[in-house]
Symmetry: C2
């Protein structure tokens, strides 16, 4: 059994590749909820939805969020009545948020709501929020402290970041699915998908006990670098790293994860970084990590699983 | 200045006719909120919206509720995720409910929210809820007590009615706009639009002091009968009257209003009921009351205003 940690688009793509080649009961996808927020009275979970829509084959490839073939009549009408329109909500996507909000309001845990929504979207694999307790990413910037979506959507990641805070993380419990999988004797590998280490994986690792528990596992713990040739495929990861005084690179990602990981998959063109990974005591594997289509996702998932298998043998031998 | 009391479709049509021939500062449209309810976490005010959309020229003529040219992608998506779909919410209509809910949640009064929405929809005339306090119509039936929309939409008015309750009405205050207009020396007439006397006008008259205040006004107080030839144009008014042991007729409507009204406009084909109206001490006017288009609305509004003018002269002479 494998746990994949995922955030937004890149994470969802590798999770989708893993789901395509693994049986549902052998994969748990643990998703960041630090991006979650309340907007217009709705409980919005951007990363959970991105993973769910991607696994359902319903994700919007142009936008990188929301549903394919979406319409925007609600949004146009909301603008007419003077509502807040900086966070765009499609007519169909809105149903997900409203149903989630309604169920949470009736006392259901986010885990249960997520399981319900996944069932309805035909997602067979287990997608679990990292926690049922609210964790809210706050981005400290030169322009002040910004709620995540304020920074990410409204301010388009423009303000210069000074630090990142995961409000609520210190007292949030990892979900039952997550802790049970971490404690399972069946657990064979951890895969950290190519998501933003600061914003998408950071909140998961900030949950009490998670970082230590991961570091203690005598199994392959493989991160796929979201940084390729010093850049992120999408999103502010590279920009944020620079603002925080770090050179954006696969090695920097590895350093951020520290003892959480014992192996890294990096892009082939970053081959020169292999030596630095070795110096950090990490196993490294250059591979084709850019996922432009489902075939790329399957291929990378296969590469990662193969790498895990190889590492497992090596770990068992040691 | 004139106060029009209105509920759903028929009320909205006459209110629209009045708005078409009266300046904005001379007409206050007071709307039933007994049909209001919370659904999927949204504050829904069906009659306020029907009046607002009608005055904005945006009402859906086929449905009798909601917006013209509406789309239903949200609803289809909500069905997919297993949400409640018995109450249909269009993609554009939803923006009205969400913005209302959001503003009420921030402490705005329903009056203010209504004024805001009307401004945004380009409605120049003053549309006011009957009260800012919640009043909820409960329909007591042979099948038990049903919340209004449960009875009206989900059960399609099928259960046999035994009585009607306006929960909250005893302690709800009429809105400031309503009480100020009732007390204004400028007030020249009351028009009760052809809405369901039991469900649409009943809640307004159930507010503390309203019935007595109306009955005391030395001005024309004219109801337009929603019952024509023993039938309602739409809705359950006639069926409910029968179930409550009353013969559906313009005279029965007049009896329900009692001393609130001193005049009735009835359909020409109900001319035979004029004698009964006279016996009740009411002035009667047979007229063309079926409103199939805006021209009908303007014509009926003109007829009612002309009737009010005639009655005012007569009242002043007495």
């Amino acid at each position: 059994m494998i746990i994949a940690l995922a955030g937004g688009v890149g994470g969802a793509k590798l999770a989708n590749g893993l789901a395509a080649i693994m049986p549902p009961d052998k994969l748990l996808i643990v998703v960041n909820t630090g991006d979650d927020f309340e907007h217009l009275g709705l409980a919005i979970s951007p990363d959970l939805d991105t993973v769910m829509y991607t696994l359902a084959g319903r994700a919007n490839p142009e936008l990188g969020w929301g549903l394919a073939g979406e319409t925007w009549n609600f949004m146009a009408a909301l603008e007419l009545v003077g509502g807040e329109t900086w966070f765009r909500l499609g007519d169909r996507d809105l149903a997900t948020h409203l149903e989630r909000t309604n169920r949470l309001g009736h006392g259901e845990a986010l885990s249960d709501v997520t399981a319900h929504l996944c069932r309805r979207f035909g997602v067979a694999h287990h997608v679990a929020p990292m926690s049922d307790d609210p964790v809210r990413t706050l981005v400290h910037t030169r322009d002040g402290v910004l709620a995540f979506q304020d920074y990410f959507v409204r301010r388009r990641c423009e303000p210069m970041v000074t630090s990142i805070e995961f409000s609520g993380a210190a007292t949030a419990k990892p979900t039952k699915a997550f802790t049970e999988a971490l404690d399972s004797p069946e657990l064979e590998a951890i895969v950290i998908c190519p998501s933003n280490p600061l914003l998408s994986i950071g909140p998961i690792l900030a949950l009490p006990g998670v970082r230590a528990r991961l570091a203690s596992l005598p199994i392959p713990r493989i991160a796929v670098s979201p940084i390729i040739q010093g850049k992120a495929i999408r999103g502010p990861a590279a920009k944020m790293m620079r603002e925080l005084g770090k050179e954006p690179s696969a090695v920097t990602v590895a350093e951020m994860y520290g003892d959480v990981v014992n192996a890294m998959v990096i892009e082939e063109s970053d081959h020169a970084q292999m030596r630095n990974l070795t110096n950090l005591g990490l196993a490294g594997l250059p591979a084709h990590t850019v996922m432009k289509n489902p075939a790329d996702q399957h291929q990378l998932a296969g590469t990662v699983l193969q790498f895990a298998q190889t590492l497992r043998v090596a770990l068992d031998t040691v």
